[in-house]
Amino acid sequence: MNKFDRSRRAFLRSFSYTSLAGMSASPFLLRMQALAAQTPQPASGYRALVCIFQGGGNDGHNLLVATDQTSFNAYTQARAAAPGLAFSSGQLLSVSPKTPQFGHTFGLNPYLSGLQSLFENGKLAFIANAGTLIAPTTKTQYNANSVPLPLSLFSHANQSNEWQSIAANGNLTDYRGWGGSFADQLQGQNSTPVLTCISTGGNALFLAGESTTQVSVSQNGLTPISGLYNDIYGQTGASSSLASVLETSEANLFAKEYEAVLQRSVKVQTQLASAILPAGPGGVANPPASLDSVAPFKAIDTTLATSLQTVARIIGARTSLGMTRQIFFVFHNGYDTHDGEVTTHRARMNELNLALTYFDQVLTTMGLENDVTTFTSSDFGRTLTSNSDGTDHGWGNHHIVMGGAVKGGDIYGQWPIIGSDQQNDVGYGRLIPGISVEQYAGTLGKWLGLSQTQLNSAFPNLANFGSNPLLGFMG
């Protein structure tokens, strides 16, 4: 296999198409079956991954700040043109990683006090400077274009796709995500495979697999089509007509695939409706109300927390649905802070703090804190320098992993040196990542139960990152 494999997915896809077109055993399927046969029987018990995607590109430079004098001066200076964008050292919440980071000291975003506690309690870790990469990349190589680079760096659509998909080649028409790829390998262990991949944020590339089809849910789980269960305009017999209309055989591909979504909805709704835990008393507690600590003291939006509540309610149905492995996608939008960043980013951090703190409590109550791992992903990081009211699109970024199985209280990956013209700065503090998405994802996949062979299959560029490319953040 080509070491720098950009076209592998197109290759795989061409085989999967033929299999869909009627070939009974394509090379791809045979290989997948062979891999599945090698899969060790899963350990008993349940495990789930929850991906929180920070839509728009979270400003990681303001998530976790290096507070040693050199770093902090560079940080303060780069952001000086935007009032309030650089936190003062008094505002930041002190966090001390177990593993020293070459003399750096750290302060956490002041609105993440709950995460500070989780970090101190060993249930939360930070991943430093992760991002889309095909192979390890230096600034010299970047400038000389002598190493394959992800396509369309700094573009929202492409980079959010690359973060979610299984190889960093940036083609917008790629349609397999690493969550979906994990599920392809693991869904056979579930009694209700159709509920292996669940999104609370609409169709997500992250959950798109070769054989797995994701299911979206809303805050109520899934709403039924009323007319299938009730009279329509007073006609009690019309339900069967509606049912028959919704399953008319269609030749046109667009009508046909729309109908497929409808039919999946009808099927899945029934399965989920009877199993999902209620919200509130007797089920999963509702998220708490809280106020922003800064004037005008608005209530903190709990949409993200409510999405995680829905995830917990579905996880609570794991026994009755016979689920042992699940992968969730939760979308948290509003991070594209070109302007007005101080206010906007504070709101996002407040929401994240409330939601993660709440979710940890919920899982702990359910006795699942060691079985569910929650992590962040995002389009990209942002510039360190300000544009006087916000920041622009960057590349490498800092991320959060939370859960009882996480070896918390630490920072994984090498902390980047920041400041003008540093070795990993490709302009305005856009960082060349030190860790690839595949290393980050692979570490999570291994915990979820994928074998090394399966990981190598899912992540074609993983081998580019050394003989032991996985990170050590999962216990």
Partner: protein, 1047 residues
């Protein structure tokens, strides 16, 4: 369980129309409405609010009400030694109807049983009871130094007319009275906190004083910092920013005072607020609670005040009625005088006011729209304190006309006088024959006559409309001219299919007209129709929606109204009014397509919501330039002030050495608006390098270079009225940076350049370099940049392919794209970017018009957007608006709704992207894309069907019963309903251009036939059966997967 929720409900409105059915159902209906509300907990504000963030069960239509119940304050604090805390719950927006709400406590840091007594209960209000209620919770005095603790009290499960307001929970902080020791003596230094978490003052007072207390210890000298923070009030105009320290000596337990000077710089109405916060302490003192206090300033601080409970004014059609009520505080026994334009209790011309037993009044609109001004001011005034007064705007609209029949129904070729009978015809009524305006003579409100010269045999569709204000058209009625119709250029099926691609939906008259005149003549007619601006409607909607009503010269009031309102109803209503009833359908469909890749959004919370009128200018730009040149469109989009705000060109500083230029617009104008990421061939396919890789069109250096061009642009603040403002560059520029200004009108104008804020450094992008210059030339640089983009070889295929995808097919052949690209490059007269030529090339291309080829190719066509499916329904069946405002609200809810709304996408990437491949489908297997499937999932498909069941089933009573404003009477379909096949053929032609499969037809016919036509001679039973057949047939068609595809 779903059964019980809906039985007797879905068809409830029908019982009102067909009273021969059991009378007992009516009270049952009302009972159901109440129980539905309690089951659903559904957020029912002015509009349907069952969006993604609320919890409306399927098919439940919320009751239209503006009443809410909420906590008076989101925070309370109580001393640990107090025995209890009392929270106040208020009922806002009226007192009509009974309602109740449950409440419960939940632990935060304070634990029930230890720190407080966990409590649940219910608060109930009777009909007419507008009083506040209280919740009392017992507090335990713990003999521990536990620090301040908090718990939460939450309101939930509202029952009846009201819904939960924004403050549905409150946090109660229990202040520890066992303070820790803070000094060497070992005695406690104590806590410092405000004596109250809120202060109020008259805005005309010189200052406001806040008290800070020291409690639980006085040992040692301590100090605390304080400072003011803007709320709605801004420092410098309403109050003076104040910071300082308060100091206590050892043993000093006295209260201290913070004095904040008030400024009478800018007058305002209503109330404004700011906060004072306590900061760091010294000497071991601790910060107690509250450490923040909110100061509310009232513009009028009289002892008596009066508020009209209805939060907004209304649009109302003649002779309809609406209830209002008002609340007086300070002099509750006073009676209230209601006037219309100053006339006590109104009169026959303005409409009348009659009192109700519950203290409210009913306004009944007059029989004819008042002239010269149909906008009335309804004012409530305290009889004893005339200074206490409040007003709402009432917009009176023309009635909805009905066309019940014509004579003759058939005639021979030649001249004929047609009698049109119906209801509510105005002397100014409009008359259409096949969609073309035709003179008509008014005889009476129930009769019109028209002399027509109809020489050509065939079918003519007649339609009557009452004009603005409140334009409303009837259904279409057939007039048959005997003889053999001549061959028309187009079949009805071809015409209908073309209209699917070119408009927001097909009508019978449009089919007839287009098939008579052919594509090119129809396009020419459409190109000639003028554009209708959205801004005037939004302007009026704001006046109705957001009291107080502003006087024209009240700058402060108008600034608040136009620039901080966050009210995006006006643009939504204007969009729907024009989409459903407008004649300029091609312009609107093209502009809508453009709006999906030249994206701007006012989705909830975005900064663009702050300037609703300004936001309307963006849709105006797209519509104005749809039929012009793309170069002008690109410039108008770039300089539009709301685009400037959305993608942050506005106030982009180019001369700050410590910062780089904002790259937002520079990137997206290339990536999304003009040239895309990868080099394209003229046929829209990707160019590949020697290794088979995509070739980027630009790199980040191009973004950085172009970003410098888009610096130095900000609001263009108009001189003169209403604020007699003299433009001042230094002030106006910074207004741009801070989004919201204090002058009126700048949000409507394109941005202007500010040379001193434009970068003068060298700017390199896309192979062009603007050299560094000692003089700043923002407009010259902008021209170079836009010309470069416009002349880029990628632009024609990039733009043309997306327009094709939005209008015709998701996967156009390369040859089709190439043909349109060629026209974009040169319209035949040497002009590049001629939009009329491009639109014609798209719609007249054989790949668009060849129906047989499309129907036989399973890969042809596209998924029809859910919003367009809704509009197709509304246009096909002449949907009408009860209020005249097409108050559809927020249809973007996925759980119950269309899952999308024009100009409200979540980001600049629209609701879906042009290259989306749905995974694991026959579409992906075929190597095709289906952009619209990106927003289609197992949630949205259900939300659409449930939403359409209610929309299709609505009638003229649905607004008052369920808040459903848009409905069809199906007047053209009812006469067909006794013949199921005829009915279905008609629906099939309108919605599916006659392409419905035999299989689907059979399934729908089964449903139609299952509704038996009674022969008991009871007209109402017959009517009920007929309309049920129509609604079922329409609902099943719009629910079908076949209708989800536009082929």
């Amino acid at each position: 369980m779903y059964k019980s929720r809906r039985s007797g409900y879905a068809h409830g409105s029908l019982w009102l129309n067909f009273p021969s059915l059991p009378v007992l159902r009516f009270p049952l209906l009302l009972a159901m409405v109440f129980s539905l509300a309690s089951l659903s907990g559904c957020g029912a504000g002015r509009f349907l609010q069952c969006g993604a963030s609320s919890t409306c069960p399927s098919g439940i239509t919320p009751v239209a009400t503006s009443q809410t119940i909420q906590m008076q304050s989101a925070t309370y604090s109580v001393a640990e030694s107090a025995n209890s805390v009392v929270l106040t719950v208020t009922r806002v927006g009226g007192s009509v109807g009974a309602t109740s709400v449950a409440y419960s406590t939940s632990n935060s840091t304070a634990v029930s049983g230890t720190a407080f007594t966990g409590t649940t209960g219910t608060l109930s209000w009777a009909d007419g009871d507008g009083a506040a209620k209280t919740i009392t919770i017992a507090i335990t005095d713990q003999q521990l130094t536990q620090g301040s603790q908090a718990f939460t009290v939450t309101l939930n499960s509202p029952v009846g007319i009201a819904t939960l307001g924004t403050v549905s929970s409150a946090i109660v902080t229990i202040l520890d009275n066992d303070a820790s020791s803070g000094n060497s003596s070992g005695n406690p230094a104590g806590f410092v906190q405000f004596a109250s978490s809120s202060y109020s003052a008259s805005a005309t007072a010189a200052s406001v004083a806040l008290t800070v207390t020291r409690t639980n210890g006085t040992s040692g000298a301590i100090s605390v910092q304080y400072r003011t923070v803007d709320g709605t009030a801004a420092a410098g105009s309403v109050y003076r920013a104040t910071t300082g320290n308060l100091n206590w000596a050892d043993g000093d337990g006295a209260s201290k005072t913070i004095t904040v000077p008030l400024l009478a710089q800018t007058p305002f109405t209503g109330t404004e607020n700011f906060a004072v916060i306590l900061g760091d302490t010294t000497g071991g003192g601790s910060l107690g609670n509250p450490s923040t206090s909110v100061v509310t300033l009232s513009s009028t601080n009289g002892p008596v005040s009066l508020t009209i409970d209805n939060q907004r004014g209304i649009r109302i059609r003649v002779t309809n009625s609406s209830k209002f009520s008002a609340t007086i505080t300070g002099a509750p026994s006073s009676s209230i005088n209601w006037t219309l334009n100053g006339v006590l209790n109104g009169n026959a011309q303005l409409g009348t006011i009659t009192p109700n037993s519950d203290g409210s009044i009913t306004y009944t609109a007059p029989a004819v729209v008042p002239t010269p001004n149909n906008v009335l001011i309804l004012t409530a005034t305290s009889a004893t304190s005339p200074v206490a007064t409040d007003s709402r705007e009432i917009v009176v609209l023309n009635p909805i006309p009905t066309l019940t029949g014509i004579t003759p129904q058939t005639t021979n070729p030649g001249s004929v006088t047609v009698n049109l009978t119906g209801l509510n015809f105005l002397p100014t009524a409009l008359f259409y024959v096949n969609g073309t305006a035709t003179p008509v003579t008014w005889v009476s409100p129930t009769q019109l006559t028209a002399s027509l010269s109809l020489n050509t045999p065939g079918n003519y569709l007649l339609q009557v409309a009452n004009p603005d204000p409140g334009y409303s058209a009837t259904g279409e009625v057939d007039l048959m001219v005997n003889g053999t119709p001549p061959a028309t250029p187009l079949t009805p099926q071809a015409a209908s299919r073309f209209l699917d691609q070119a408009t927001f939906g097909t009508t019978s008259g449009d089919i007839q007209h287009l098939s008579n005149i052919g594509y090119q003549a129809w396009l020419n007619e459409q190109f000639a129709l003028p554009n209708v601006s959205h801004v005037p409607y939004i302007d009026q909607e704001l006046q109705v929606d957001v009291p107080p009503i502003c006087a024209a010269n009240d700058v402060k009031c108008n600034t608040a109204l136009y620039q901080t309102t966050n009210d995006n109803d006006g643009i939504a209503q204007s969009f729907f009014i024009q989409a459903v009833t407008g004649q300029d359908q091609l312009r609107q469909r093209v502009a809508y397509s453009l709006s999906q890749f030249l994206v701007i959004s006012n989705n909830n919370g975005s900064a663009t919501m702050q300037q609703p009128r300004g936001f309307g200018t963006y849709l105006d730009v797209l519509e104005n330039d749809s039929f012009g040149n793309f170069r002008k469109l690109l410039e108008d989009v770039t300089l539009n002030a709301q685009m400037g705000q959305f993608l942050s060109t506005l106030g982009n500083e180019g001369q700050n050495a410590a910062a780089h230029a904002d790259e937002n617009y520079a990137r997206e104008v290339m990536q999304l608006f003009t040239i895309g990421l990868y080099q394209l061939n003229a046929d829209g396919t990707n160019k590949l390098d020697g290794s088979g890789n995509l070739i980027p069109t630009f790199g980040n250096a191009d973004v950085e270079g172009l970003a410098s061009v888009f610096t130095g642009f900000s609001y263009n603040v108009p001189a003169g009225a209403p604020d007699n403002y003299t433009p001042n560059d230094s002030v106006d520029w910074s207004n741009g940076s801070s989004n919201v200004g204090s002058m009126v009108g700048f949000e409507l104008l394109p941005m202007k350049s500010y040379a001193s804020h434009h970068a003068t450094s060298a700017k390199s992008f896309l192979g062009v370099t603007i050299p560094a210059s000692s003089s700043s030339d923002p407009n010259g640089d902008l021209k170079i940049a836009l010309d470069t983009l416009f002349n880029h070889p990628n632009l024609p295929p990039f733009v043309c392919k997306q327009l094709i995808q939005h209008m015709v097919t998701s996967n156009p052949s390369p040859a089709y794209v190439a043909r349109v690209t060629k026209v974009f490059q040169d319209d035949g007269t040497g002009v590049r970017g001629n939009m009329q030529a491009v639109i014609s090339a798209i719609l007249l291309d054989p790949e668009a018009t060849n129906a047989a080829a499309a129907y036989s190719n399973p890969q042809a066509g596209k998924v029809r957007e859910s919003l367009i499916r809704y509009l197709e329904w509304a246009r096909a069946f002449s949907a009408q608006s009860y209020t005249g405002g097409f108050e559809i609200g927020s249809p973007e809810g996925r759980q119950y709704g269309l899952g999308e709304m024009a100009l409200r996408s979540p980001s600049v990437f629209n609701w879906f992207q042009p290259g989306y491949v749905p995974p694991n489908t026959s579409i992906s297997a075929a190597g095709l894309v289906s952009p619209e499937l990106q927003m289609t999932d197992v949630v949205s498909v259900v939300g659409y069907i449930n939403y359409m069941e209610d929309a299709v089933g609505a009638d003229s009573s649905s607004f008052n019963n369920y808040g459903l404003d848009v409905f069809s009477t199906y007047s053209a379909e009812l006469p067909l309903a006794s013949d199921p096949q005829k009915l279905l053929d008609h629906i099939n032609l309108l919605l599916l251009a006659g392409s419905m499969s035999a299989d689907l037809q059979q399934r729908i016919l089964t449903a139609i036939n299952s509704v038996v036509i009674p022969n008991n001679g009871v007209q109402n039973d017959l009517n009920y059966a007929l309309i049920t057949r129509v609604r079922l047939a329409v609902f099943l068609t719009v629910s079908s997967p076949e209708f989800a595809a536009q082929i």
